[in-house]
């Protein structure tokens, strides 16, 4: 039965969200969880910059600092950036292809809960003896030697989270391959869907490398393995390889959806179709493919030898070509357009020079002998923050602002959004531009402190000042969200006015089933084509009929909980007798829940044709 006309109390709403398999609500779950972790990672960043504001500082102890820097990186990449990107993919991709949901709604929720429990597991380390302290890259010799359970929380937590990511990646691949509306060929898919598609393929092939590495780490630390112990025939360098075979595609998993967001926003707010669509698709695929060929550029100083270094240097430089193609295509999308500087557009416009700066320092780092100087210095820290903050974070801020009305039925306050934008822009460049020079002047990275009279004082002080701007910008964003939720104005299906893609053809938020009738797609920018032809709505591709919907389920929560419990148990297996027992109990809970899901037939429910006709007027979730 349609939930549209049911009113729920707080308890009911919480249960609804815990068990929903609706991609739109799962998107909100990802947004909330990712948002919370973004704040956690942001506080960790603030602590880093406070500690480094002056030389020989002791705001935090050396050991704690290493935990903070590790968690900052790990949280931001795995628990903030990726989930927030998943939030947008969930909210938007099924709508953009004219589908009613993803291919596997149950697995979609499972992916979320695995991520959430993994993130919780990782952050429990703060309260249970100390967080991991070997960097987000957790190189093997240091990790194996790290006392306490911090690294175990890292390895097991990321393993659980990673399982969720892998499941979601497969889900989006199948969804995009199988569930496009009639008329939507691959080359008529919006760019955000394309980048989700390629990123999902990257997830599919990259995450297993991390899975293997983490298992080897877990075996060594908890089960007496020796994969990384040189004295026992093991090798620490293999961790570096496994991590970066995952890690490099990972950064393309982050940036490709970000590129997709901007490929939606730039055309929309310049009222022009994306320039060079085929080239953009080709460049996306090429970046994804080449992304697997370059991992050892993170290891130029490891001692692989000149042949390896030379090959990986050249391969890395090659990626600059498709990326450059994209930048020029975006610029020429703007050329001849009618540009409106809404807040999402401001981010898109600021992204272009910021990402170019980050990208070119990447090409500089591809020059292996030069990288012998840059590697493990603040130059590299500057490089990756420019591409991640200037690319991914900008895209998340832009995309969340852009699609907020579609998800929640209300527009965020534009003035506050612009204030966030400007403060964040200033803070971002203040903090990270000077770091290029700090690195060149000899400052290594991951340093708890720096000594005076080495020329590094002023640069670090400037860098720390920028953090305050970004903090204030984030606070304003929070105020904006609260204010809008409390008393924002309701909006219609196409609140920005210039929507080109299918998500803008239905109400905000969409009804539970998205499209009453699957739309007929007549070309790229399907909704825009209809608008230009004078139609207010999409032409349906099927008659009105009963709609088959999936049921909610508590089982994904149980499966994830089981894995969480197993993690706790195995983490303590060498300290307590109950460790293995609890571990096994957790696995039993997990497998029983999976068995329960497989054994019991769940055929979903139907929304009947008669109810559909009235639903236009009610557009509520």
């Amino acid at each position: 039965m349609s939930t549209l006309s049911q009113k729920k109390g707080v308890g009911g709403t919480i249960w609804d969200f815990m068990t929903t398999v609706d991609h739109k609500k799962i998107a909100i779950l990802y947004l909330i969880a990712g948002g919370i972790f973004f704040l956690v990672g942001g506080v960790e960043a603030l602590f880093i910059r406070i500690q480094l504001a002056i030389p020989s500082n002791d705001f935090v102890s050396a050991g704690t600092y290493n935990e903070i820097l590790t968690m900052h990186g790990t949280t931001m990449i795995f628990l903030a950036a990726m989930p927030l990107l998943f939030a947008m993919m969930n909210a938007v991709v099924p709508l953009q292809i004219g589908a009613r949901d993803v291919a596997f709604p149950f697995l979609n929720l499972l992916g979320f809960w695995l991520f959430a429990f993994g993130g919780l597991f990782l952050n429990l380390s703060w309260f249970l003896g100390g967080a991991p302290d070997a960097g987000w890259t957790s190189y093997a010799s240091l990790s194996i030697a790290s006392p306490g359970h911090g690294i175990d929380f890292y390895a097991i937590g990321l393993q659980i989270s990673g399982a969720g990511t892998l499941i979601s990646g497969i889900n989006f691949l199948v969804t995009i391959i199988n569930m496009r509306a009639p008329g939507m060929t691959y080359m008529r898919m919006p760019l955000f869907t394309w980048t989700t598609f390629v990123a999902s393929a990257l997830i599919l092939f990259a995450f297993p490398a991390l899975t293997v590495g983490l298992f080897l780490m877990i075996f060594d630390r908890l089960f007496g393995g020796n994969f990384f112990d040189a004295t026992m025939g093991g090798n620490t360098i293999i961790w570096e390889h496994l991590f970066w075979i995952f890690g490099h595609p990972e950064v393309y998993i982050l940036i490709l959806p970000a590129f997709g967001v901007f490929s939606e926003i730039l055309p929309t707010f310049s009222r022009k179709r994306l320039f060079g669509y085929s080239s953009m698709v080709f460049a996306t695929v090429l970046i994804g493919f080449l992304g697997f060929m370059v991992w050892a550029h993170h290891m130029f100083t490891t001692g692989l030898g000149p042949i390896a270094n030379a090959i990986f240097a050249v391969a890395t430089m090659a990626i600059a070509v498709p990326t450059g193609i994209k930048i020029f295509n975006w610029l020429f999308t703007l050329w001849g357009g009618s540009i409106e500087f809404t807040s999402p557009m401001l981010y898109a416009v600021a992204f272009i020079p910021s990402f170019v700066i980050g990208g070119v320092t990447g090409v500089m780092a591809a020059v292996a002998p030069a990288d012998y100087q840059f590697q493990d210095s603040y130059f590299i820290v500057a490089h990756f923050h420019y591409v991640i903050v200037g690319g991914v974070v900008y895209a998340i801020l832009a995309g969340v602002t852009y699609w907020w009305p579609k998800m929640f039925g209300k527009m965020l306050d534009e003035k506050l959004s612009k204030a966030t934008f400007w403060l964040f822009l200033i803070g971002f460049h203040l903090t990270f531009f000077i770091q290029h020079f700090l690195g060149l002047m000899g400052m290594p990275r991951r340093v708890w402190t720096f000594l005076p009279n080495q020329g590094l004082d002023l640069g670090n002080a400037i860098s720390s000042s920028g953090a305050a701007f970004m903090a204030v910008a984030t606070l304003i964003l929070l105020v904006n969200i609260i204010k809008t939720t409390a008393k924002g104005q309701k909006v219609g299906g196409d609140p920005w006015g210039d929507g080109r893609t299918l998500e803008w053809a239905i109400s905000s938020p969409p009804p539970e089933y998205n499209f009453k009738q699957t739309p007929l797609v007549r070309g790229l920018d399907a909704y825009w084509i209809e608008k230009m032809a004078g139609n207010k709505e999409m032409t349906p591709a099927e008659p009105l009929g009963d709609i088959h919907m999936p049921n909610s389920s508590f089982i994904p929560f149980m499966i994830s909980l089981g894995m969480f419990i197993a993690g706790i148990g195995f983490l303590y297996r060498n300290d307590h007798a109950w460790g293995d027992i609890v571990g096994i109990i957790g696995m039993v809970v997990m497998f029983l829940s999976m068995f329960f899901r497989s054994w019991i037939d769940d055929h979903g429910f139907h929304i009947h044709k008669e109810d559909l006709v009235d639903d236009d007027k009610e557009a509520k979730m």
Partner: protein, 351 residues
């Protein structure tokens, strides 16, 4: 664009950048003040890549600024729908081919340099200066196999000739970096990494003869305090230094120093040698060799070298370098013992 115009622009950008960047940082620490052949070659590559990238940035910026100014939606244009342009094959080709050409310009010196900097054939010459670097938590051991001496923390090297390095780590991964002299090389636990550096005599004068070395791979709480110093001296001075160090004996004259020597020989000597001819196997050499300690640049790698700081380090090493391996290896010392030890350590001369 004609090739010579491109080259001219690149060259002038190059020069401009060299001026701008050369103002940055200290001569003993900055990669922008290269003090030897390796750092200079890496600096030229940095300049070349920066120049090419600045060119790209300028082109992008010009188009970018033009576009956002010229095509803003103006009042009265609220209902204008611009012409929808699918693309341009010509432009796609241009902005694919030109970047490829620019990258080729960058690739050739990159590959040449990668091979040149990895060429350590000369290490086998019998008069080559070779240093076996062993990185530990949180100190550096420097063994000179041809001179047959082992020292630590201060790396003494001859100027104006290749110095070869064999680099490894004894506990966890570290990385050996002297920024103004050349890029870094990781110290791994399971293999030796090899490279060479040259220390320029003129530049080393600008740096007062001492270059700063850093650990560049997160290794634990005191990773940021694992500094070492490089003393670049003439080739003759280097040979003399090595010979003298082999003959050096502690210069114990005062009563305090003698008492300090007794305290030292009771416990410290278990890990610390005071003689550069240390025949113990690697695993037994668990602490820095202290021969010539009185003339070192720093105490524990980070504190200015004076008696006060020696006492500070001995009294509470954990406070100076959290997580270091000396903390807790000896009982609390009285102030008198600390004073005597400091006097003894100040008697360890280089000749």
């Amino acid at each position: 664009m004609k090739k010579w115009r491109l080259n001219f622009r690149v060259l002038s950008l190059f020069t401009l950048l060299a001026f701008v960047l050369s103002a940055c940082g200290k001569p003993f620490l900055s990669t922008l003040k290269p003090a030897g052949e390796v750092a200079e070659e890496q600096y030229s590559l940095m300049l070349l890549s920066t120049a090419i990238m600045v060119l790209v940035i300028i082109v992008v910026t010009i188009i970018f600024i033009f576009v956002i100014l010229r095509f803003r939606r103006r009042k009265g244009e609220e209902n204008v729908i611009p012409k929808q342009v699918e693309g341009s094959r010509k432009l796609e080709i241009i902005w694919t081919v030109i970047p490829i050409l620019l990258l080729i310009i960058l690739t050739v010196p990159t590959v040449i340099s990668t091979f040149k900097l990895a060429d350590v054939k000369g290490m086998k010459d019998k008069d080559a200066v070779v240093v076996n670097v062993r990185a530990n938590l949180y100190w550096w051991e420097f063994e000179y196999p041809n001179q047959k001496i082992i020292t630590s923390q201060d790396l003494v090297v001859p100027t104006d000739k290749k110095v070869y390095f064999n680099i490894k780590a004894s506990d966890v991964k570290h990385s050996f970096w002297i920024p103004s002299v050349g890029g870094k090389l990781d110290a791994n636990t399971e293999n030796d990494n090899k490279f060479w550096l040259v220390f320029d005599s003129k530049k080393s004068k600008e740096a007062n003869g001492v270059f700063y070395g850093k650990c560049a791979e997160l290794c634990g709480p005191s990773h940021s305090l694992m500094d070492f110093k490089v003393r670049a001296v003439s080739s003759d001075e280097f040979d003399t230094w090595a010979k003298d160090l082999k003959k050096a004996k502690p210069d114990v004259e005062t009563a305090s120093a003698k008492a300090g020597q007794e305290v030292f020989n009771e416990s410290c000597i278990g890990c610390h040698a005071v003689d550069v001819k240390d025949n113990r196997p690697e695993q037994a050499r668990q602490a820095p060799n202290l021969a010539g300690f009185s003339e070192r640049e720093r105490v524990a790698g980070v504190l200015p070298h004076n008696k006060e700081n020696i006492k500070k380090w001995l009294k509470d090493p954990e406070k100076v370098k959290p997580g270091n391996k000396m903390s807790g290896t000896y009982p609390d010392l009285t102030d008198e013992q600390v004073n005597e030890l400091a006097d003894y350590l100040m008697s360890l001369k280089e000749k």
